[in-house]
Amino acid sequence: MRVTIRLFARLRDLAGAGELVRDVEGPATVQSVWKGLVAEMPSLGEYERTMSVAVNADYSRMSASVNDGDEVAFLPPVSGG
């Protein structure tokens, strides 16, 4: 199945792209999508303890399941305001 990965702020800079489309093995979770991403780009790994995640533009958890066509986002600590 295919998922869209969204990366923001410094995660986007580290990856060199804000949007990636990847084929992943099912059944997938946010965690498994992340593991695949870090295997591809190890420098992203430093965010594992501080980032938040979202599925289809809603906050989610690493354990959440991911379905075909989902948008999975990885978010560095926020700094709005």
């Binding site: 979202a54 533009a57 986002a73 926020v78």
Partner: protein, 158 residues
């Protein structure tokens, strides 16, 4: 004018005040907060900021904050506009307006809003300063973190 917005356009406080207070002639208290881009930060001379947002989730997070406020201060009405993209020194990055019959509630909900924005709204500052640039990173966003919410509520002096 929508009461909640994440927008690349310059922010208009009087217009937001009109939108929030327009339909509430019974409410006498309007508290507002404006965040301006500063010319320095942590010893660096800032040139400008570039704000990035995960826009649909940012609007959802703002909606959540407004829902929390409706629970805590049911007599308030809140408007929040957050700007994205390049923002120059002295320009507003965020404007918050709260109307209420009670000034205590207007002030508390306004303060609560800015604290919660900094906790859970997916927006990031990219600071461009003399000699470089850096992404600022604050809180790990977790809307279900009840202790963070309680901290914001306590700071709001509710």
């Amino acid at each position: 004018m929508s009461l909640l917005a994440v927008t690349p356009d310059p922010l208009d406080l009087p217009a937001l005040i009109r939108s929030v207070s327009g339909s509430r002639a019974g409410d006498g208290a309007v508290a507002s907060f404006v965040g301006l881009v500063r010319d320095h930060n942590q010893g660096r001379r800032v040139s400008f900021l570039d704000y990035e947002a995960y826009e649909p989730l940012a609007v959802r997070a703002l909606t959540r904050i407004v829902d929390e406020i409706a629970q805590a201060w049911p007599d308030t009405l809140v408007g929040v506009h957050h700007r994205t993209g390049r923002i120059e020194i002295g320009e507003a990055s965020v404007i918050i307006v709260v109307v209420s019959p009670h000034r205590a509630h207007a002030f508390a909900a306004c303060r609560y809003t800015i604290e919660r924005i900094k906790q859970i709204v997916p927006i990031w500052k990219h600071e461009h300063f003399e000699g470089g640039d850096v992404w600022l990173e604050g809180a790990t966003a977790d809307p279900d973190d009840e202790s963070a919410r309680q901290t914001a509520y306590r700071i709001a002096c509710a």
